[in-house]
Subunit: 197 residues, 2 copies
């Protein structure tokens, strides 16, 4: 980093902590926010602090919420026999949009990725183990991504639940291999749900 860019360096370094942002992108972002959108910069600063301070995890399903227990987990009209395990709140939202599922969820907030230092505890597997002890539960549907890491995560959860009287199923391979659930069209997800194995 040149001395000539030094006034912006703290901001450039901070922007690089965003995923997928390298030094050139961070420079361009810093220039833009300072030069053309200072109100946007202040808004982003406020939104970051508010989010970190006020967004919490649902005590039952682990998704982001402002409350102790999220609206889906509070919905008593759902099928308590089924629990669908997804990687992110966006995956949960995609599953809901299919209209083909009426059970509850558990959101891992990630997937196993030893290379990135993401282990079983980072994706809430201890909490999932607790959650699956509810007596009404009969089936855990694994809806992790069909990527190497998503499959490894599904495999780890299958092992975790072995020996329990719970059926562990996986979304059918109607979901294109190599893709992430949130980008898949709804019909494909719905079909994969019906064909779960």
């Amino acid at each position: 980093m040149s001395e000539l860019l030094q006034p912006l360096e703290p901001l450039i370094q901070a922007l690089r902590r965003l995923p997928g942002v390298g030094v050139k992108t961070a420079q361009r972002m810093a220039f833009h926010m300072l030069q053309r959108d200072q109100e946007g910069a202040r808004q982003l600063a406020r939104a970051l602090v508010t989010a970190v301070d006020s967004v919490r995890h649902c005590e039952k399903c682990n998704t982001f919420t402002h409350e102790t227990v999220c609206s889906i987990c509070r919905d008593e009209g759902r099928d308590a026999a089924r629990l669908c395990v997804v990687e992110t709140p966006a995956d949960l939202a995609a599953m809901e949009r299919t209209g083909a599922y009426r059970g509850y969820y558990f959101v891992l907030m990630g997937r196993l990725s030893p290379m990135d230092g993401v282990g079983p505890k980072d994706i809430g597997l201890p909490e999932l183990l607790v959650r699956t002890q509810e007596p009404a539960l009969q089936e855990v549907i694994l809806a992790t991504s069909f990527t190497a890491e998503g499959e490894a995560t599904a495999h780890a959860i299958t092992e975790l639940l072995q020996g329990r009287s719970i059926e562990v199923t996986r979304l059918a391979r109607g979901v294109p291999v190599g893709s992430e659930l949130e980008y898949v069209d709804l019909g494909t997800i719905a079909h994969a749900l019906v064909d779960r194995r």
Copy 2:
């Protein structure tokens, strides 16, 4: 935006004000910062506010600085006969790294772009007109990008300075057409500087 992602929506919307960040990227950034790097989120918030509050423009050359006049403009050992006009502080830094230039600078902080609503006042052309009234000045070297917008900007400055006893030159076309200065190798920039026309 699904109601299920609502707790993150203010942050996602704020992240979208960063250049080149669409809704999917903003979602991924929001998840990452909340789930894996809350300290990074707080650091980014602080850096944004500090930058907006403390970074100002050099009164002489318009680059970003913490002071009234930047270190280059305060350097009295430079050639006051020459003023190099660049688009960004990163371009200024690239020019300095060549070691081939010892004059002063004017930083436009952008380039003319009517489509994006960037006009002559947004890139400091009134201030440039003032800056070029210094008696010692003999030559203005246009080092804007060799893109359509950079060429239009160079053209506008040439027109602006017409009828004054100042030579207006342009970096030679040794700089590959269609590229932005800050990404060009130093030898090419140095060569283009010598061959300026």
